[in-house]
Symmetry: C2
Subunit: 344 residues, 2 copies
Amino acid sequence: MRREVTLRDVAELAGVSSRTVSNVVNGYANVTERTRERVQRAVEQLGYRPNVLARNLAQGRSGQIAVVVPYLDTPYFSELLQSVIRTARVSGYNVLIDQTDGDPEHERAFIADGSRRLLFDGVIFSPLGLDQQALASRDHNLPLVVLGERSSDGSFDHVGIDDVAASRQATEHLIDMGRKRIAAIGDQPYATGEAAQRRTRGFREAHAARGITPREDLIISTPRFNRPDGAHAMEHLLSLAEPPDAVFCYSDLVALGAIRTIVSRGLRVPEDVAVVGYDDIEDGRFSNPTVTTISPDKEMIAATAVERLLLRIRSSTPPPGLELCAPHRLIIRESTAGRTPTAR
Amino acid sequence: MRREVTLRDVAELAGVSSRTVSNVVNGYANVTERTRERVQRAVEQLGYRPNVLARNLAQGRSGQIAVVVPYLDTPYFSELLQSVIRTARVSGYNVLIDQTDGDPEHERAFIADGSRRLLFDGVIFSPLGLDQQALASRDHNLPLVVLGERSSDGSFDHVGIDDVAASRQATEHLIDMGRKRIAAIGDQPYATGEAAQRRTRGFREAHAARGITPREDLIISTPRFNRPDGAHAMEHLLSLAEPPDAVFCYSDLVALGAIRTIVSRGLRVPEDVAVVGYDDIEDGRFSNPTVTTISPDKEMIAATAVERLLLRIRSSTPPPGLELCAPHRLIIRESTAGRTPTAR
DNA sequence: TACGCTTTTTGCAGCGCTGCAAAGCAAAGC
DNA sequence: GCTTTGCTTTGCAGCGCTGCAAAAAGCGTA
């Protein structure tokens, strides 16, 4: 493997200093057209490519941002990641992705122990196993934007949607269609379940607003928000003496799992049990039945997260940590409204 | 922000040379216990963390591998990526992920133009828009493993399953359950559609093996393998004078889209139309009905790809490019077998 | 022609680490 | 006592690029 062409090689051929070549390559101002052309020609002739590693070291930055999510195969995250990658690319950043499996140690390693620090200039982080306190004890020099769980403590930005309002809206939709026994699947009544708890709060607020008392035995906890969890929880609910006639699920995956259980018991959605999900993943737009859901504006969440992170990376004095709220809307589909002739 | 602690700082405190500290930090042999301890203590006292950027430059490698896929939100890829990340991590590699949206220019940039070269030591690549020829004109110094499309030209490894055999098996299953008019959704009769063409070949072979002539108008091309494509193709098929009574779909997403269309027309799966998919993504295990599918051994594909890539990275003389075949099996579910619990 | 000012180009000193080869040193052999 | 052998430790020269500050070159004006 022949030695790589360096700045110096180009400089020699073009008859200028290596610093000038660097200036041309990086598009700095204050280079005469004549010089620029000469250098350009030498660059092409030698097939010069900047050495990213050397540049990184000299600049003390890597041009990469990391996105850390619990599970990559969760459609919500992969759809979100897609937008993050596109947005970051526009600003010249590569995206380094890692999944933690929700393991607190692994999550901690990413934002605290600095072993990989410098490999990325900032992190967009979706915690699952780390509580507020662990999050606070992180490396404070690391620009950080948090998604989903945890609210900001002022030292980082948090991007999400208004979970309480969204959940309330979803629940009110079920109440308003005349359902009397509404279940909730996905509560997580412990330190790391902030988002789940916000959704439960919205669920309760909706009941309160309509003057109803929710049945506590219909609020089901699940360890994660995936299909098996939903299927399992629904089995339990259907085995009750007075099973629910509607379910608010804290993710579309949970909803799909629940629907699967309902249908395989020979019951109908929405006639026997109406179902609302959360996240608006593509699955829910093509399932049978299609799933009514809370649709967060993922594009905006991704764009906002990247934008805030780059701002943090670029500013010498860290900007204040903001609580940023993206819009959401309730999308009504078959799982609460009966079948329509053609899929949409 | 205080200056980072360097090797030299540690060396000074421990009273040894910086090279020795380096040796200790990297766990090289031939360091006396006494020295090791002394250095270790200094490292901890100062909170020293190696500077990855500097190490990368000095070593001329980055410790990262890139995985390039067309679409991150395709469950098949995100499930596969999950395994790749886990496997790579064990060997001390970070995974840099990028999606190309199937854009040939973008794909090319990754494996040919070297602008990001050095940022990763090797690439696991799932091409979509690049044909065999474009693939051949890549940077041959870049260790490469290809997934899915394209077979190896001897200069890189290709990992996949036996598409022809799998497709044949899926189609035979439909024939053997007595279906007469079997459609195929997902053919791509152009240079970049190798995998699709292999599946079509298997589809034809199955017919030939049973002495049947497939109806050409039931072989439908689709630009991609996603839900909308499947839904759309199915609409066309159902509008035919003699619509099919079975469909072999080239991905589970296509199958889910097709099923959605069938069901929303008031027809039943599998009674009116039986459906087989490909990939065995989680969606198909919880959909209504669940989807019969070809299940590639994703764990093994991921493990093999990473293993071969690391081998390439580590060897000075490039090993021969192999054609590696992971096992698969046909998993029969409701979409070809009727509902399990309570039929409706 | 000289002077002050702006624009362009240059030289050099690192960034923090590792490869290489030589130096140091202790135990073993003559 | 002196050389040989084998393990430890060291010094130094980069890796290829950019930040900084100073030098050089233009340029308009006195």
